[in-house]
């Protein structure tokens, strides 16, 4: 056993010289503490909590290491969850029994589905969340999760051991070294350090090292990882100032009211914890030319904007908006931070000007004339690892059993972090149990799109989910995330509860039955016209029309249809969700039919697996230098993934085919093995040992 503990560690240790008491909180009182865990998760943010909970759900004894237990579940930036694309990710996290949807259903203060008029495939579930409630509820959940132990401590280093010969990678992660020198051993390690890796906070011309405000940055760990050969990049992000609620003149601003009724995030919930009339409104205001002036006059006082660290193509800060789209009024949403919070979060006003200028800028905005700034906005610059260095299971290529999730992979947003967290947690647990990884294809979910994009193309701006990234958008809808993922989660990963599995099964069979019944009911269009006079059914066709076709009309829903044909349709209106989902399936039926064919062909390419230890740089792979290097770095696991790497040509793909391991071929190879008594004995023994 050897440990990569470089000299940099000491320097880092002096920076973080703050002796934290070793406090352990365990949800599982029966499990006595032992220094050896199945899975250790570093970081208690949105990726870390989901990863730890998922690993524990899968049956692994899990340790969550965090700087401070009271920051678990902290929403360090915007006080909202979900949105277009992000809401899709959340539904998929929920389908795998992840936490964030259920916590949001208990902690929201303003629930609103975006894109209501643009079709159910792009509905964006979104809510303003009470920060305090979210944290409370998340901590309660994490601290009572069976098999999950929580410990405070700063991680300084990884314990690295000899690699397992049957896997690629130069060494194996076997645990972590804490700041006080103590060690924790683990079979898998998940790193979710967020912006803590060499994080720098920027306000005006001031810069100081930190993770989030008030937390310690992890420098030692960053150096160890860099020494191992991980390619590191630098990204920047920002957050707006916080404003005192009572200092805002809301009466002159546009109010946005929440939905009535509220739509819950989780498949398990029928309603949310709070009635619509008790929810808080949001308000809309706009910037004006005076804001532009202040930004432009003070660019010399704004090092975050001058820095070359790559920012996104989109406009993350008010400065970038003013610089790239001058002479426009920009939206500022005033969002509540919680039920009893005195703070307002001005969404759209991320800024890194010196604090006094921020206040000056705020007070020239309508409604904010007398606004009091409580905290200034600030920028964060941080390290991220080029995500092409991780496999779709989120395990790193370089270090066996080390998984990366969340912002350190170059993503932004709670939802993107949570999605990776669940996948890392599941796979860390599967790895310990020697089971094949749980990979979601981009044909199966936004989680698949996210991870496939990251691992094949990398990113040079904080990666955020948009529905435009999903080529099978009409199939990957928020309504059907359970039928896409819950069964796989239950069977392959074991991360889904029995209750959820049964509910998803019931829904699936009801939908299948409902659709076949809707297909079986056929009348002439004139008869339909008589039955449902409200519908503008075209009379031109002489062919009989199925009930499913009638349900496609915008003005027809299951209730209307069941009124016309009570037997056998009435029973499908009893469950609101079922009725709505039948309507959605009908609306997209014909397009989904075509999309299914494309999905199948993509999946066929994804079934063609490339060996993990394929030496792309060796001579017997006849590829161009450029293609070789790309493949060597990204290590695509399937022909499908390889074909999506920019610059990999069709000819290169054909060339790779000869290395493909299909299940059929593996099976054939197995059959060819001589089946002697000796062999059988060996397998028997192996099984005995495992028992």
């Amino acid at each position: 056993m050897f440990s990569f503990r470089g000299c940099g560690r000491r320097v880092a240790a002096s920076l973080t010289k703050q002796h934290l008491p070793l406090v352990r909180f365990s949800g599982d009182s029966a499990a006595s503490w032992t220094p050896h865990f199945d899975v250790v998760v570093i970081g208690g943010g949105h990726a870390g909590t989901e990863a730890a909970a998922a690993a524990a759900r899968c049956g692994s004894r899990t340790l969550l290491l965090t700087h401070r237990v009271d920051t678990i579940g902290q929403m360090s930036c915007n006080p909202s969850f979900g949105g277009i694309g992000k809401g899709h990710l959340m539904r998929e996290v929920d389908a795998l029994d992840g936490l964030c949807c259920r916590i949001c259903d208990q902690s929201g203060v303003h629930y609103k589905v975006l894109n209501r008029r643009k079709g159910p495939a792009v509905w964006g579930l979104r809510a303003q969340i009470d920060r305090k409630l979210y944290k409370q509820n998340m901590q309660k959940e994490i601290l009572t999760t069976p098999l999950l132990t929580v410990q405070e401590g700063a991680v300084e280093d990884l314990i690295l051991t000899e690699p397992e010969p049957e896997h690629t990678g130069k060494c194996r992660a076997s645990g972590v070294v804490l700041a006080d020198g103590s060690k924790v051993y683990a079979d898998s390690v998940i790193l979710t350090a967020g912006t803590f890796l060499r994080g720098m906070i920027v306000i005006g011309l001031e810069m100081h090292p930190a993770g989030r405000l008030g937390d310690q940055p992890s420098v030692g760990l960053a150096q160890t990882l860099e020494k191992l050969g991980f390619v590191v990049g630098r990204l920047k992000t920002g957050t707006p100032p916080r404003i005192a609620k009572e200092s805002i003149n809301f009466s002159i601003l546009n109010q946005q009211t929440p939905d009535n009724p509220s739509i819950p995030f989780s498949f398990l919930n029928e309603t949310v914890w709070i009635k619509p009339e008790d929810q808080l409104p949001c308000y809309l205001t706009h910037t004006n030319p005076r804001v532009d002036e202040i930004v432009l006059e003070n660019l010399h006082l704004n090092s975050h904007i001058k820095e070359t660290t790559r920012g996104p193509r989109y406009c993350p800060s008010i400065e970038s908006k003013v610089l790239r789209f001058p002479n426009r009024l920009h939206q500022v949403w005033l969002e509540p931070e919680g039920m009893d919070s005195d703070l307002i979060y001005p969404q759209g006003l991320s800024v890194t000007l010196p604090a006094e200028l921020q206040e000056k800028m705020i007070t020239c905005i309508r409604g904010l004339e007398k606004a009091k700034m409580i905290h200034p906005g600030y920028g964060v610059q941080y390290d991220y690892f080029d995500p092409r260095q991780i496999a779709p299971s989120l395990e790193t290529h370089l270090v066996q059993r080390l998984f990366f999730a969340g912002q350190i992979n170059g993503t932004t947003g709670y939802e993107e972090a949570a999605a990776q967290g669940v996948i890392a947690g599941i796979n860390a647990s599967l790895r310990v149990r020697h089971k094949p990884p749980f990979v979601i294809s981009r044909t199966e979910g936004y989680i698949g799109v996210l991870i496939d994009d990251l691992t094949t193309m990398g990113t040079n701006e904080p990666y955020r989910m948009f529905t435009s990234r999903a080529e099978f958008r009409l199939s990957l809808r928020p309504d059907n995330a359970d039928s896409r993922l819950t069964f796989r989660g239950y069977k392959e990963a074991g991360c889904v509860s029995q209750q959820r599995y049964e509910r998803a099964s019931w829904m699936k069979s009801s939908l299948e039955e409902g659709i076949s019944v809707l297909k079986s009911i056929e009348f002439s269009s004139s008869k339909w016209k008589k039955l449902i006079p409200e519908a503008s059914i075209s009379m031109g066709k002489s062919l009989p029309l199925r009930a499913l076709d009638v349900l496609k009309y915008e003005e027809v829903d299951m209730e209307l249809l069941a009124k016309a044909v009570p037997e056998p349709l009435e029973k499908y209106t009893k469950c609101r969700e079922l009725a709505e989902r039948l309507k959605i399936e009908a609306a997209y039926e014909s397009v989904l039919f075509h999309q299914q064919q494309e999905i199948k062909s993509v999946q066929r390419d994804e079934a063609l697996q490339l060996p993990k230890d394929l030496e792309y740089l060796s001579k017997d792979v006849s590829l161009s230098c450029e293609v070789r290097e790309k493949l060597h770095f990204c290590r695509p696991q399937t022909i499908g993934a390889a074909s999506r790497i920019p610059g990999v040509t069709p000819a290169a793909i054909i060339n790779l085919l000869r290395f493909v391991k299909t299940t059929q071929q593996r099976q054939a190879a197995l059959n060819e093995l001589p089946q002697t008594d000796h062999c059988l004995c060996d397998t028997d023994k192996l099984e005995e040992r495992q028992l």
Binding site: I84, N115, V122, Y314, C315, R484, Q597, E598, D605, N655
Partner: protein, 471 residues
């Protein structure tokens, strides 16, 4: 539900065919459920040309072209009259073969049409196949991919084929460049740009329309762009004369220094006065193209301006065009001594003209010169040797079964432009914005087959360039 959809698809893949205009959209995905067709034999004059199909609609295609007769006995050659399924017009009397899967080259249902090799017949059959619902032209390497996917190729066979596929894609790239150089290419790129922008704006409306501020009228602008595009595409497809006639045959460029006799050579090879000839250097200022029959191969012969630093603006432009045309040619005939023109990776025949000016008995041109031919355009001496050399080069270019035949390229153009137009029709009818965007995605996928590009990043680039979004 999910399972229900899957069985539906499975049934449709084999069962009665619905008009399916949206297959083969977006990036080419080999091994997909669509039925593909391609000219499998080499291009050029040959006795028999073999056209092959693979996929579930192969049987349907065979019956459509030989209708109303039944499928021939499996794996037995059989003489049939081929006719266009739409017009009923007879195309050729041909040998047809029917290979029901899995006992076929690709493991899928396959059909082969052995037709008489003339370009008109081949083109007619390819176009007729393109009109059969569910059929589309094959992408590079697609037959191979399918054969591999069905376990019909061993690993060593794939290895051997990889080089061939490489040649194939390279040839297709050149072919595509050549096609896109002309007016049609210009049109296609314009359409693709318009469509990408319209799609980006619709996508922006979906992803940012509610939370961020987009200006008013984003969707309306996209609507009107799509309408214009639809009109333009419709007109193009209806009017066969519109746009450039697709060039067919190998591309032979005559290039070299001024006054070397390039135009005289072109006139000699084409047996008609294509180019004006004069003793004055720089007479030819533009690229002149003429279709010719060279040693039995169809070829497009280009005369170019002499390569020198031109004196006038017009001549400079001529020289630029000459250099450019060397970038997508198959054979360069360089009737002069000295350096070869740019883009020298192509096949090159070095010809030294005006051999009649050489004094009898020597001195001969320097032995340091690369292999060359002597020719006199004036006396015709050396012409036979040149034709023989060209025959060899063209045989190498045209006889290679992997080069993309222009006839197939034409079928591809028609197929994808029609697919694009059909998808734009769906855009108009779409009930919600996500369905409308899907129609545009399909339409853009078709154009991307002709112009390359078509990724998501391109869309995001436009969104972030045109709109102030993000937080």
């Amino acid at each position: 539900m999910w399972r229900g959809l899957l069985t539906l698809v499975a049934r449709a893949a084999r069962g009665p065919l619905r008009p399916c205009t949206r297959q083969g959209s977006r990036t080419p995905v080999p091994g997909s459920g669509a039925t593909i067709f391609a000219l499998s034999s080499g291009q050029g004059r040959c006795g028999i040309a073999v056209i092959r199909t693979s996929g579930p609609a192969s049987g349907h295609a065979l019956r459509s072209l030989t209708a109303p007769r039944d499928l021939p006995q499996a794996r037995r050659a059989c003489l049939r009259l081929l006719s266009d399924p739409r017009s009923g017009e007879p195309l050729d009397r041909a040998l047809v073969l029917w290979f029901p899967g899995p006992q076929s080259f690709t493991g899928e249902d396959c059909a082969e049409f052995h037709v008489h090799g003339g370009p008109a017949v081949v083109s007619g059959v390819l176009q007729a196949l393109g009109r059969v619902p569910g059929l589309r032209p094959a992408e590079a390497g697609e037959f191979t991919r399918r054969a591999f996917a069905h376990g019909k190729l061993s690993l060593t066979e794939v290895e051997g084929l990889a080089d061939l596929i490489h040649a194939e894609t390279e040839a297709q790239r050149r072919q595509a460049l050549r096609q896109l150089d002309g007016e049609l290419g210009h049109l296609c790129r314009g359409w693709a740009d318009t469509l990408t922008k319209a799609l980006a704006h619709v996508e922006a409306y979906i992803d940012f329309g509610e939370d961020d501020d987009l200006e008013e009228g984003v969707l309306e602008r996209a609507d009107s762009q799509v309408r214009e595009l639809e009109v333009a595409l419709g007109a193009h497809l209806r009017d066969a004369r519109r746009g450039q006639r697709l060039r067919s045959g190998a591309h032979v460029v005559v290039a070299g220094p001024p006054n070397a006799g390039k135009s005289s050579l072109v006139n000699l090879l084409s047996r008609k006065p294509v180019s004006i000839v004069s003793p004055e250097p720089g007479t030819t200022r533009d690229v002149l193209e003429t279709p010719v029959d060279l040693a039995g191969f169809p070829a497009l012969l280009s005369d170019t301006a002499g390569l020198r630093e031109g004196t006038g603006l017009v001549e400079q432009e001529g020289v630029r065009r000459a250099r450019e045309s060397c970038n997508f040619l198959d054979v360069v005939v360089n009737p002069a001594a000295g350096r070869s023109p740019d883009g020298n990776s192509q096949r090159l025949v070095l010809v030294l003209n005006k051999s009649d000016l050489l004094p009898p008995g020597g001195p001969y041109p320097s032995p340091d010169l690369p292999p060359h031919l002597l020719l006199s355009c004036l006396t015709g001496e050396g012409l036979d040797d040149l034709l023989e050399a060209l025959r060899k080069e063209l045989a190498a270019v045209c006889g290679d079964p992997s080069t993309g035949p222009p006839l197939l390229t034409r079928a591809r153009h028609q197929h994808h432009l029609q697919g694009c137009l059909d998808a734009l029709g769906h855009y108009k009818q779409a009930k919600d914005v996500s369905l409308a965007a899907e129609a545009l995605r399909v339409a853009r996928g078709h154009l991307a087959h002709l112009t390359s590009g078509g990724g998501t990043e391109e869309i995001l680039d436009i969104i972030f360039r045109d709109f102030c979004v993000g937080k």
